[in-house]
Amino acid sequence: MVDTLSLTPAGAAVVENGPASGASAIKAGFAAVASGLHDVVLVTGAERMREVNNLEATDFVATLTHPLAEYIYGVTLPAHAAMFTRLYMERYGVTERHLAMVAVKNQNAAMRNEFAHLHQPITIEGILDSPEAATNNPYVAEPLRFFDACPVSDGGAALLLVSADVAKGIDRPPVRIAGVGQATDTHAVHERTEPTDLLAVRAAAAKSFAMAGLGPDDVDVAELHDAFTILEIVESEEVGFFAKGEGHLALEKGETALGGRIPINVGGGLKGRGHPVGATGVAQAHEIVTQLRGEAGERQVDGAKVGFTCNFGGFGNNVVCLTFVKEA
């Protein structure tokens, strides 16, 4: 790519970290600039997933699961999300209606994002309540339905990271990466002590906020990794926006919608924007930078000064959280 863009002799490297590749690449680029090693780093994320059919894509992504303890049984990412959802339903009272509310919120938000993959509005009636819903929105892995999962997408995103000195010469409103946090969890999901916890999300967010000297209550706009609708709810709790088990209640009250207390995935999220795996973390950062620059048009969160992203690898075994601050 360096050659295609005629950037030689700039250095180049590939970062491969599953669904968290994008934010992992940003982390590497951030470290390179922060250390003084480089003063300009171009971070790109891209994936072409529609070269193969959906089942092949699902199976390829399923190889992220534990090879001996999960993959051999036919466990896929939707299967993990489904088993996790059932526990969440039992323990906290999340229902299929809450999941559908996330799907509707995010897929409809994508209507206001020209870069989104899906430009097809949906309603609770159409995907849950109507007689046609069972056909429109069949189970993929019970209790998760088709519209609970992000689409299989092609896509790309890019971010230019520059030192503070270089930023002075650039005629664009600067946004600072204020916090970088990454954490891991067990590979086999069944080994986690509390099966409804996503500890890597909790730890990565805490590290990111600590580095930024900020907390979850300071965030004006967030991009969470809603590869499945349940994940937006649970991540909104684990990063600290809401108490454990109360994310779905905040969703009900509209607190996570555009105009709410903490708007989440106003660019459509993975659900509406799409999830080209390697591009997602970079696309999340792009959305936040667009918001903090006040350039998000009809999906703009008014006065947004602090933004946050959560990029979720595997089924939460490798997570990167970033905190962004609008520079005065």
Partner: protein, 113 residues
């Protein structure tokens, strides 16, 4: 001979692991693969489950039951679930069977019913 799925007990602190890992997650001092394998029990309680309809490669069935089971000794295992209408918390018993045929080989794992 009945097939078994093995867990691995740390010789230094006694923690039981499934699946296999190189270093004990409790004492983190086990650095010479000092684990003793022991067969997992077959009986347990269904912690959670799903029926997958969008099946991955190698599965030629209408839907695939999967679950996480908390076994009698407290160790959890992910396995296939051959129960038509499962209930959270129900008692299940496992058997080691072919769980995936890849075209090259048969893979064995726990099937609960």
């Amino acid at each position: 001979m009945a097939r078994e799925i093995y867990a691995y007990r740390c010789r230094r602190c006694g923690t039981l692991h499934y699946p296999f890992r190189m270093v004990c997650k409790s004492c983190r001092e086990n650095d010479m693969f000092e684990f003793d394998p022991e067969p997992l029990p077959k009986k347990g309680r269904l912690l959670t489950f799903t029926h997958v309809h969008a099946l991955p490669a190698d599965f030629d069935v209408p839907r695939l039951g999967l679950g996480i089971v908390e076994l009698e000794n407290g160790i959890r295992i992910t396995g296939q679930l051959a129960v038509e209408d499962p209930m959270m918390g129900m008692e299940v018993t496992g058997e080691v069977k072919v769980v995936r045929h890849t075209g090259y080989e048969d893979r064995y794992g726990m099937v609960f019913s």
